[in-house]
Subunit: 243 residues, 2 copies
């Protein structure tokens, strides 16, 4: 009994239309050595066997109660991270992106601190690594349309940095304002005036002072942590650099 036959034997079964293949991809961003990185795995199966790709996989309708579960499950499997900042980015579906036929992928992006993350070689993958992003690309070619996805996603991230507090999710639990500013600058690819930055962040009521100071380099700096329950602040005015 093939797919088609199964279909027509059921009443109200929507699959009178052949169903596209459905996957979820997760663009997992982090900062390592003052540079933006994305998590990639080497494919162990055709198509694109041996090429690097974003983290992703099929929606498992037995295991996953919704699309976001698929994303968090994938993230968990690869990084052990449980509660990242996770946002749905876009869904791409067309006839060409997968040589096996019409396929749909819902792309999420996650922001995590690289602190304490140990990458796990899961089932079906023998190689996984953080790939450095430069000019919205990584060095290695990516499978499927993942290079385009990465580019658009990096662009979206940069745009959101202009008017949100998203970069706090790339920080470890305690950090200084200078460290946070540095992360903003990495994402934007440009310097920010430090006085404006401090005014903006401290005025947003999203940070609380942590105990103690960071002693590193010269004058010690106040440590902050993200206010409990805080997820995303939207500033009413953009930083410059919007083009």
């Amino acid at each position: 009994m093939n797919n088609q036959e199964i279909l027509s034997s059921q009443i109200y079964d929507p699959s009178i239309y052949k169903r596209p293949n459905t996957t979820v991809d997760v663009v997992i961003f982090t900062i390592i050595d003052k540079q933006l990185h994305v998590l990639t795995v080497k494919r162990t199966e055709e198509p694109f066997k041996g090429m690097w790709s974003l983290i992703g996989g099929y929606v498992d309708i037995e295991k996953d109660k919704n699309l976001e579960s698929t994303a968090t499950r994938k993230l968990q499997e690869k990084t052990g991270v449980q509660t990242p900042y996770l946002e749905q980015f876009e869904t791409i579906g067309n006839a060409d992106r997968d040589p096996r036929g019409w396929s749909i992928t819902t792309v999420y992006f996650a922001l995590i601190s690289s602190e304490g993350v140990e990458l796990k070689t899961g089932k079906g993958t023998n190689d996984i690594k953080w790939s450095k992003i430069e000019k919205r690309k990584i060095e290695e070619p990516l499978a499927f349309d993942h290079a385009e996805i990465l580019q658009r996603c990096t662009e979206r991230l940069r745009n959101k940095v202009l008017y949100t507090s998203l970069p706090i999710h790339l920080m470890p639990s305690e950090f200084t304002l200078s460290e946070l500013q540095k992360v903003y600058e990495i994402l934007l690819g440009q310097k920010i005036e430090h006085k404006s930055f401090r005014r903006r962040m401290l005025g947003a009521d999203i940070l609380v002072e942590a105990e103690g100071m960071r002693h590193e380099g010269r004058r010690p700096a106040q440590l902050y942590r993200v206010k409990e329950g805080h997820n995303a602040h939207f500033f009413i005015r953009n930083l410059e650099g919007a083009t």
Copy 2:
């Protein structure tokens, strides 16, 4: 033969996972009689037979080259409109939204001028109408999770109105600034200071003066049209009303 066994017996075949049902829904907004409306159809099939629903349908992998084609095809079939403002909103996939099982829908929203639109009763639907939106809801109950989708989508639209020029796509080809302001106010659910509004719109370089004036009521008003090729302007500062 269970899922796992099927899996391991097939190489490279993505359908080792049962595929969810995949659809596209389009939230088609327009302004009628100074109120926001959304296009709805009455369902002629189970499930939810006889209930109103958003415009949508299965991805037809024979006809549609990508997801957006599915959306424009649906829009075309129902309204005859060819080139609306169309934006992907979100994708919802879970086990509960459709009684027939795990299903995924990619939701688009479209903004069109109601001027000159004639609704078409297409195949499979015997009733179609513009439903008035009040408090992010319409009067009639909606099938599936469409009420939630409509609510979130209306909310997203309102948010974007605070910092974009999107409402111009709800206007007929020529309009006055007062008419445009009225549409902004409808979407925001609040008054805007008219001087600020004119400064903002005229400063954005997205409108050009059209020939002639609108003579209606008292003093005639300058007609404008959208600058050729213009799609969406992002202001660097929000209107008030952000909460």
